[in-house]
């Protein structure tokens, strides 16, 4: 095993840039910040490619399985002899794959932002936050201890808060940032309690040890974890489902998805990086990392499956009705992540049933590329048109040829048209779904059709429909914006051909997968039909879409209004938490608890006023008290204390 300690450099480089740009950025590097950020990220990308080559090809497999290497481990905070948070780096197929995905997409975004964010007043802080995000994402991927995952999980949340709230003078951006952080924080609470449960029953916080202890059915930890139950579900289910809730929050699964569409307030490259490729897949990565434990507990896996499938379908329906292009892409991300989740949910460990696990990660791999390409394309378009709404766009294919081609490739990829990457990963998911759960397969198929419909609705309304009314327009942006688009487009095409199955599988052993054409006729056929419907409706500007929408009536309205989930959350916070919990407590503190103390003060004042009355200045009263005293004392002395 060759020495992998240089991998420690990959997360540290972005951290270094963050510190440099964060502290000195404003004064010295305001213009050159972009280059510093991109250069350091280029270095870590190259390093991660080297590491991948060395791990997959040079060291290769040992009796058919890639070895898990702990490159570096240091006890960070020890709670007790065998339970401690220790920082470390783990190298195994998933983490190396994620390394490549995160660093390359982040590099593309860095390069793209050189052009996109030029002239911004807080240019250096933008790059500082971007590198902070990349550092925490890389840290999350390489962590060896669940608490270390939690630490970087929070840092990812915080940096996404800072990036969404980048245009801080816009109140909507601030509100969106706050919402994102609070919702993810709520999910992190579940994650924390899940960690506490696993940590306590598993006896350790180290992921490797936990997997080893909780997968061996006759191990002491596993037994007492499954026997101890709370409200009917065993502690293992509680722990795992709570951890999944943490993941669901970050990956914007159904109940906790409300922050993703609002997160589009941030600059588009940020959305491309965070809300397309990296942060949102953290939940999938977490479930994949703890997959052996999840597989021991069917009930939590079914939770994962059904939430994933429902989110996919739910998001696809909403995406078809949205008019803001970034919202459409946000919902499409949510839908694709739903795909990955339920692919994991239906998978088992080992052999043929492990296909779901491999398919999900393969989809994650391909999705990262074409989704970030879509976002960057959308960014270029917005940069040109200075508005997010579809109706202000149209006929841009002549003005922006490169973006047009790249956008088209990405749409074909995400729709799952054969030669492109999306087809291969989605096929794997569909085959896995077909073998294990017919209902999920049906939902997946329908959602695939919906996906291609809304993607091409988006494509036609941006690049075709009416002629563009733009008078003054500066060209398609500098090369720094075009180059990433092309590179990502290339990846979107080639990613499909990567022999993913012999790198990453649920049990490590290579899994030979074949694309049987008969099976893939159904999905591809449906996709082509959906594309033609989209073309028919949106190729030329006409009123057919509005007529169709009218027919759907309230269903369309509901979908457009995102099924009122936002309003529900607002209702809960504004109408229930604030007035019925917040105000009473604040009022109680001011009046009851504080009031009690003031009451004490007032009663003492009253009593002292009464006692004061005894000093009435009346001599005769004094003689009376005097005589009373003598009498009492005499009685006491004579009768009681003989």
């Amino acid at each position: 095993m060759s020495n992998y300690s240089y991998i420690l450099l990959i997360p540290l480089l972005p951290l270094l840039t963050f510190l440099v740009l964060g502290i000195f950025g404003r004064k010295y590097f305001n213009t050159t910040a972009g280059f510093i950020g991109s250069a350091s990220l280029l270095a870590s990308t190259i390093l991660s490619f080297i590491a991948a080559k060395q791990y997959f090809f040079v060291d290769g497999k040992l009796n058919g399985v890639y070895q898990k290497i702990i490159a570096f481990k240091y006890t960070w905070l020890s709670f007790s002899p065998n339970v401690s948070i220790d920082m470390g780096i783990i190298i195994d197929p998933i983490s190396v794959m994620m390394l490549i995905v995160v660093t390359s997409v982040s590099l593309m975004v860095h390069v793209f932002s050189l052009g996109y964010m030029k002239g911004e007043e807080r240019f250096a802080t933008y790059y500082a936050f971007l590198s902070l995000f990349t550092f925490s994402m890389l840290g999350l991927i390489l962590s060896v201890n669940i608490f270390q995952v939690y630490i970087f999980w929070e840092l990812v949340g915080a940096s996404s808060f800072l990036l969404i709230g980048y245009y801080f003078s816009k109140p909507s951006a601030v509100a969106a940032a706050k919402k994102a952080f609070i919702v993810t924080r709520f999910a992190d609470l579940g994650f924390l309690i899940g960690i506490l449960i696993l940590g306590f029953y598993g006896g350790t916080l180290d992921i490797g040890l936990l997997i080893e202890r909780l997968t061996a059915t006759q191990s002491a930890e596993f037994i007492n974890m499954t026997t101890a139950s709370f409200l009917g579900a065993s502690m293992l289910t509680w722990g795992l489902s709570l951890i999944f809730i943490g993941g669901a929050g970050k990956s914007a699964m159904f109940p906790l998805h409300i922050w993703l569409p609002d997160a589009m307030e941030g600059p588009t490259p940020v959305s491309a990086l965070i809300h397309a490729a990296t942060m949102v897949v953290a939940g999938v990565y977490l479930v994949a990392r703890l997959f052996p434990i999840f597989s021991m507990d069917p009930s939590s896996l079914s939770l994962v499956t059904y939430i994933g499938a429902f989110s996919a379908f739910f998001a696809a329906v909403i995406a078809c009705t949205q008019t803001d292009i970034k919202r459409v892409l946000a919902y499409s991300t949510m839908s694709q992540i739903g795909y990955m989740m339920f692919a994991l949910g239906i998978s088992k460990v080992g052999g043929e049933e492990g296909l779901g696990y491999m398919a999900s990660l393969f989809h994650l791999f391909t999705h990262a590329f074409f989704k970030s390409l879509l976002f960057l394309g959308a960014g270029a378009v917005i940069h040109m048109v200075h508005s997010n709404e579809m109706k202000d766009m149209g006929g841009l294919r002549k003005l922006m040829p490169i973006t047009h081609i790249a956008f088209l490739i990405a749409c074909l990829a995400i729709a799952g048209i054969p030669p492109f990457a999306g087809f291969f990963s989605k096929e794997e998911i569909l085959t896995a779904a077909f073998h294990s759960n017919k209902l999920i397969y049906g939902v997946a198929l329908f959602t695939a059709a919906l996906t291609s419909f809304y993607m091409f609705r988006l494509y036609f309304s941006i690049f075709w429909s009416k002629e563009s009314t733009l008078q003054h327009h500066h060209g398609e942006g500098t090369w720094s914006m075009k180059l990433p688009l092309l590179i990502l487009a290339a990846c979107a095409v080639l990613a499909g051909f990567v022999p993913f199955s012999n790198f990453i599988t649920s049990d490590g052993k290579a899994l030979e997968t074949h694309i049987d054409l008969i099976f893939s006729i159904a999905p591809v056929g449906l996709t082509l039909i959906a594309i033609s419907i989209a073309a028919y409706l949106y190729k030329k500007e006409n009123d057919k879409p509005s007529k169709l929408a009218a027919q759907f009536g309230i269903l369309y309205q509901a979908a457009f209004k995102k099924f009122y989930v936002d309003e529900l959350y607002l209702f809960i916070t504004k109408k229930i938490i604030f007035p019925f919990i917040g105000h009473p407590i604040a009022w109680a503190d001011k009046n009851i608890v504080d009031g009690f103390m003031l009451l004490l003060g007032k009663t003492t004042a009253k009593i002292s006023f009464k006692i004061k009355g005894i000093q009435s200045g009346k001599v005769q009263n004094y003689t009376l008290y005097f005589f009373g005293g003598i009498l009492i004392l005499s009685i006491l002395f004579i009768y009681t204390w003989k």
Binding site: Q620, L624, F627, L631, I638
Partner: protein
């Protein structure tokens, strides 16, 4: 029931009757006079107890001195004929109850306390012995209190003069 007991009850009745009237009469001058009678009957009690010297002193100092002083002060401070305001009912009742309760309590004490009266020892209270003992410096001598009392009386005299002096400056 021989003559001395009758005499005793007579004197006691005088003391207590004059006392009550001294305390309750509304006219201040009349109260002073009843006080005079009460003190005189106390002197009579002393005579009854054959301590003539103390009786004499009682008449000279108390009756002759203090009651006269009180009557002078009545003339000085207000027209003697003026009616004194009747005290409030509640106060009278409560102080009456207090006094009665105190009286009964002490009588109860006296009854239950067995005084072993020293019968047989001669009681010589003649002026001769009083005079000797007053100035003797031996074991039971009262020379020291005698001297101290003289200083006290002097101080009291000066005090009264200073207090009661008409201050030209304040007018």
């Amino acid at each position: 029931m021989n003559i001395t007991t009758i005499l005793f009850y007579l004197i006691a009745a005088c003391i207590l009757g004059a006392g009550i009237l001294a305390v309750t009469s509304t006219k201040i001058f009349r109260a002073a006079i009843w006080l005079l009678f009460s003190l005189v009957s106390v002197a009579a009690l002393y005579f009854w107890m054959q301590v003539e010297f103390i009786a004499a002193i009682q008449i000279v100092v108390y009756v002759g001195g203090i009651v006269v002083l009180i009557i002078f002060s009545i003339f000085l401070t207000q027209q003697s004929g003026k009616e004194m305001p009747k005290p409030r009912a509640t106060k009278t009742i409560s102080s009456l109850a207090a006094a009665l309760f105190g009286f009964l309590f002490t009588c109860n004490l006296i009854k239950h306390y067995s005084f072993e009266s020293a019968i047989g020892k001669p009681f010589d209270s003649s002026i001769h012995t009083i005079g000797i003992q007053m100035l003797s410096t031996q074991e039971h001598g009262y020379i020291l209190p005698f001297e101290v009392i003289s200083m006290l009386l002097l101080a009291a005299m000066i005090g009264c003069i200073v207090i009661a002096m008409k201050k030209e400056s304040t007018q």
